[in-house]
């Protein structure tokens, strides 16, 4: 049972995460705003409610794994990891700078809490499959979560991996698709239509759930129901809004890959803090 207090708590954390994402992107003067904000609620739910993990012992063998296949949402992952306590929040301001542990895209060798290195799209699901297979071989209850982008789903490797996960009946694996409908060059429908997504994943023998990716009740319910499905991997197709949380970034193609200016940052903070009260 998901309580309204739990949901309120997560909404508050998500707001703080969004504030950190925008702050670090503004400081870095480059990076991916839209796709970090669209997935904020999903990743917040995972790290602050669902996943078993120990920030003080990042290598703990029994931990659940999270793979950020859409690696350009690195600011989101970093903000979440810092808030969990994997590293100090001050570090966020070093994003994308020379010799920083916070690379433009996640680097498992540089950043505590980052499970695998991603950035080149389409590769995360295969790696998550490997982790899920390893957990099974180790008779571990550890679960593997992987966040995919919808533009990313145009990569052929995603579908090779979709086939493998179903073939090996990886019921300890749960993919979440951040279905914000936009990519750098425009709406996904116009650039390269990948619909219908639920039917595609069903045809690949996955358990498919479709939710509102900004509704914590629906996110947590879907994650819980994925855990009880046997012999099949689950994908949660989360309908999201690119740039979610800041009105003037929402559903704007332009903000896929640019950072907020000082003025935009100020206005965004005002909006997010207004929401808080």
């Amino acid at each position: 049972m998901i309580t309204s207090e739990e949901i309120k708590k997560l909404e508050g954390i998500a707001r703080e995460i969004r504030i950190d994402i925008l702050g670090m992107l503004n400081e870095a003067k480059s990076g991916h705003t839209g796709g970090s904000l669209s997935a904020t609620d999903i990743v917040t739910a995972l790290f602050f409610s669902k996943m078993k993990h120990q920030p003080k012992d990042p290598e703990w063998a029994g931990r659940d794994r999270f793979v950020l296949s859409k690696g350009h949402a690195a600011p989101l992952l970093y903000a979440v990891l810092a808030k969990c306590g994997y590293f100090s929040r001050d570090k966020l301001m070093s994003l994308r700078k020379l010799k920083s542990s916070l690379q433009g895209h996640p680097d498992m060798r540089k950043t505590k809490g980052v499970e695998v290195s991603t950035g080149s799209l389409g590769q995360g699901l295969s790696m998550a499959n490997g982790m899920a297979i390893a957990a099974r071989l180790n008779r571990s209850k550890s679960r593997t979560y992987v966040l995919l982008g919808d533009g990313e789903s145009q990569e052929g490797q995603v579908w090779e991996a979709a086939m493998s996960a179903a073939h090996y009946k990886l019921d300890n694996l749960c993919a979440i698709l951040d279905n914000n409908g936009l990519q750098i060059d425009g709406p996904t429908k116009e650039v390269m239509d990948i619909d219908p997504l639920p039917e595609k994943w069903q045809a690949f023998n996955w358990n498919v759930l479709t939710i509102d990716g900004h509704n914590f009740g629906e996110i947590l319910e879907a994650l819980a129901s994925a855990e009880v499905v046997k012999k099949k991997p689950t994908i949660i197709i989360a309908k999201t809004i690119k740039g979610k949380g800041v009105s003037f970034f929402e559903n704007k193609v332009r903000y896929h890959g640019i950072a907020p200016s000082d003025e935009e940052l100020e206005n965004a903070f005002m909006e997010l803090r207004r929401e808080e009260n």
Partner: protein, 324 residues
């Protein structure tokens, strides 16, 4: 040198043998387990074998995930599909994060034979050598292959190993000790050095024997680790003989010949001749016919050696010739 052994066969046997002692070994293949010989392991340890179907990119990513969780994955398919089809997956998911994945690819070179250019791999060493963190090894016979597989299980980090389809004579005996990054002088001589690896080692030794009958002494060096290359040995041999030939079943661009040329160009420039595939694709044919067609024979190695020796002697008599 009468026993003929396929390095891929030894790979399969060794993997199956070591699987018993190390439970962390897992094996992946892309629908070629009968050809790569991972099928031997699959039969013995079906629960640790994963056939990924014809999807090399997914195979490399899955191997990366297994390694990130502490397993020692071996990923096998034909050399060109492993390194060519899945190059960027190897770069992003394996080499960049230095994950402990062992890519052991069979059917390197043109001795793949009848299948022709699409299945032959004359680019794999170049493709793997350019990746930071990657170790590149091409064992030269069955004995060495066995030791290479044993060694890379203990080594932490990504490794590319090329084995071959054809059967070649055993060169080393059981006293041989393979070490990553160490070359081995297999025949002594001081007129010229032949650096080689893989299927071309015994051809190079044959060339040295032919030349010996003419009174020419060739040093033959097995450089089974192409990366990290044995700098000391290569420079010392070049300094001593002042004439070098490289021989490989690979393009002369980017492989062993390039590695030796880069090293000597910066440290000890000497006359150099690179024997290999001269910037063109392979074709169908049986392995021996192809080796003859592309000039990978003891005869052509001997001619190349004589040429560099001749240039060296001319230079000794007229130092101004160095760049002519």
């Amino acid at each position: 040198m009468t026993d003929l052994v396929g390095t891929r066969d030894i790979y399969g046997e060794t993997l199956a043998r070591l699987g018993e002692f190390n439970q962390n070994i897992v094996v992946l293949d892309a629908d070629l387990s009968a050809s790569t010989k991972t099928g031997v392991f699959a039969k013995k340890y079906p629960e640790r074998f994963f056939n990924m179907g014809v999807s090399e990119q997914d195979m490399m990513g899955t191997a990366a995930g297994l390694a990130a969780s502490g397993k020692i994955p071996f990923a096998s398919t034909f050399a060109i599909f492993a390194t060519g089809r899945a190059w960027e997956q190897i770069r992003q998911s394996i080499a960049y994060p230095r994950l402990n994945v062992k890519i052991v690819a069979s059917h390197g070179g043109i001795t793949v034979g009848e299948d022709g250019a699409s299945h032959q791999s004359i680019e794999d060493i170049a493709l793997m050598r350019v990746l930071p963190n990657m170790t590149v090894i091409v064992p030269s016979d069955g004995v060495e292959t066995n030791q290479v597989i044993e060694t890379i299980i203990e080594y932490q980090g990504p490794v590319y190993v090329r084995v071959s389809r054809g059967k070649t004579p055993l060169i080393f005996d059981e006293s041989y000790r393979f070490e990553i990054g160490k070359g081995k002088v297999v025949l002594e001589g001081n007129d010229a050095t032949v650096f080689t690896m893989g299927t071309m080692l015994y051809k190079s030794m044959e060339a040295a024997r032919m030349l010996k009958e003419e009174g020419i002494n060739i040093k033959v060096v097995n450089l089974s680790t192409i990366k990290p290359i044995d700098k000391e040995l290569v420079i010392a041999a070049a300094r001593e003989t002042k004439a070098v030939v490289t021989v490989e079943e690979h393009s002369v661009i980017g492989g062993l010949g390039s590695a030796v040329a880069e090293l000597l160009g910066e440290n000890c420039p000497v006359f150099l001749s690179r024997i290999g595939i001269q910037d063109r694709f392979g074709m169908s044919g049986n392995a021996e016919d192809l080796l003859k067609y592309y000039g990978l024979t003891p005869e052509s190695i001997a001619i190349a050696a004589k040429n560099v020796i001749k240039k060296k002697m001319e230079l000794i008599h007229d130092p101004d010739l160095s760049c002519k």
